[in-house]
C-alpha cells in the first residue's frame, strides 16, 4: 500500500469518530525503519481518538500496523499532544 493511501485510511477511520474532523491533520515522517504518521487534532478530540485506557488508539494501531507499505518500512502512529 502506498503511504498516501495509509494517510487516507487513518483519516477515514478517525474523522467520523471526532467532533471536528476539519481540524484533523496527518503528517508523515520517514526514517530508516519506520514511516511515522503524526495525527494532530483539536484538543477536545484527542480523548476520543485515544479512548478509555487507550483502547480506540490501540484498535486503530492494530488495523494499520498490519499493512505492508510499498517501501517495506513498518508503520507507526503517534497522536500529537499539543
Amino acid at each position: 500500500m502506498k503511504s498516501a493511501e495509509v494517510s487516507e485510511l487513518i483519516s477515514a477511520i478517525v474523522s467520523p469518530l471526532i467532533t471536528m474532523p476539519d481540524e484533523l491533520t496527518i503528517d508523515t515522517v520517514e526514517d530508516a525503519r519506520f514511516t511515522t504518521y503524526n495525527l494532530s487534532l483539536n484538543r477536545k478530540d484527542i480523548g476520543r481518538v485515544i479512548g478509555k485506557q487507550g483502547r480506540v488508539a490501540q484498535a486503530i494501531r492494530t488495523l494499520i500496523y498490519g499493512i505492508r507499505l510499498d517501501n517495506g518500512k513498518r508503520i507507526r502512529l503517534n497522536i500529537v499532544d499539543k
Binding site: M1, A4, E5, S7, E8, L9, S11, A12, I13, S15, P16, L17, T19, M20, P21, D22, E23, L24, T25, I26, D27, R48, G51, Q53, R55, V56, Q58, A59, I60, T62, L63, G66, I67
Partner: protein
C-alpha cells in the same frame, strides 16, 4: 505551486493564505528565500515562500465527498426496498445534510462546535454501514454489509472475498473494527446498543471452537486438580467461557490480567457445589 513575496516570511505566508483562501494548517509551506535586512539597507531582500494546499487535506476532503456520495447511493437503495419516501425527497434531505456539514467549515465557529448530526439510531446504523464499507475497501477487503438487529445487539454481517484479511491473526482486526464501530455508534446512536461484527460465519465458528476448548479444559482441570490459564481473549469471548462453566459444580472460573491480555482461569472448586 504558487510563490508569494513579502517583507518577512510571516508576511509572505499571510499573503499566500489570503490568496489561496485556506487555513494555515491546511497549507504546505516551503521557504524559498529568507528575508534579509542587508547592511544599512544595502542588499536588502524580501522573503519568498512557495505554498500549496496540503495533499492530505485535499485527500481528506475527497474522502469526505466520496462517503457522502455513497451515502446518497445507499439511501436511494434502501428507499427502493422500503418504499417509504420518494427518491427525490431523500436526495433533498441528503443534500440539505451535506449543506449543513459544509456550512460550518466556512467560518462560523459557533455552529462548528455542535455536532452536525442528531442522535438517531437508524441513521447511525446506516452511517456505520457506510463507514464499514469505506474502511474495508481501504483495507483491501471490500465487504458488503448486512444489518441484523437481535436481542443481544446489532449484528453487522460483512461479506467479503478476503475473510482472512478482515479477521486478522486471532481475530484481532475484526475485533478492533468492532470496537471502533461500537465507539462510532456510542457517539451517534441515541440508545445504548451492543455492536457485533461478523465476517462470514467467523463468530459462529469461534463460538464452537471456544465451547469445545472450554469443555475439554474443564475436564482436564477436574482430572488433574490443577488450574488452567487460557489464552488472552476479548471480553465477550471470556464471558462465553464463564457462562458455559457457571453451573459446573467442580470448577470455577475467573479472569486475570489487564486488557488486552486479560485471560480466563479455570480452577478446581475447593468445596464442591451442592446441586
Amino acid at each position: 505551486m504558487a510563490q508569494y513575496e513579502g517583507e518577512t516570511i510571516e508576511l509572505a505566508i499571510q499573503k499566500g493564505l489570503a490568496d489561496l483562501k485556506i487555513e494555515r494548517e491546511e497549507a504546505d509551506i516551503q521557504v524559498v528565500r529568507e528575508d534579509s535586512h542587508g547592511f544599512l539597507g544595502i542588499g536588502k531582500k524580501t522573503a519568498i515562500v512557495e505554498m500549496q494546499i496540503s495533499p492530505t487535506v485535499v485527500a481528506a476532503k475527497k474522502a469526505k465527498q466520496e462517503v457522502r456520495d455513497q451515502k446518497i447511493q445507499k439511501t436511494i437503495k434502501n428507499d427502493a426496498k422500503q418504499d417509504q419516501q420518494t427518491v427525490s425527497e431523500i436526495k433533498d434531505k441528503v443534500a440539505a445534510e451535506a449543506q449543513k456539514t459544509m456550512e460550518p467549515s466556512e467560518n462560523n465557529q459557533v455552529i462548528k462546535k455542535t455536532p452536525s448530526f442528531e442522535r438517531n439510531d437508524n441513521q447511525a446504523i446506516k452511517d456505520l454501514s457506510v463507514y464499514l464499507m469505506d474502511l474495508t475497501k481501504r483495507l483491501g477487503a471490500p465487504a458488503l454489509v448486512r444489518v441484523d438487529q437481535q436481542k443481544q445487539g446489532i449484528i453487522f454481517h460483512l461479506e467479503t472475498a478476503k475473510e482472512g484479511l478482515l479477521i486478522g491473526k486471532h481475530g484481532r482486526s475484526i475485533n478492533s473494527l468492532q470496537y471502533l464501530s461500537q465507539t462510532f455508534f456510542n457517539h451517534r446512536g441515541r440508545t445504548r446498543q451492543t455492536i457485533i461484527l461478523d465476517v462470514g460465519d467467523y463468530r459462529e465458528r469461534r463460538e464452537r471452537a471456544l465451547t469445545a476448548l472450554t469443555k475439554r479444559t474443564a475436564r482436564n482441570v477436574v482430572a488433574d486438580h490443577k488450574a488452567v490459564f487460557l489464552d488472552p481473549m476479548p471480553s465477550f469471548e471470556r464471558k462465553l467461557v464463564h457462562t458455559l462453566l457457571s453451573d459446573n459444580p467442580y470448577v470455577e472460573t475467573f479472569s486475570e490480567g489487564t486488557e488486552p491480555d486479560r485471560y480466563v482461569v479455570i480452577a478446581p472448586r475447593k468445596t464442591v457445589m451442592l446441586p
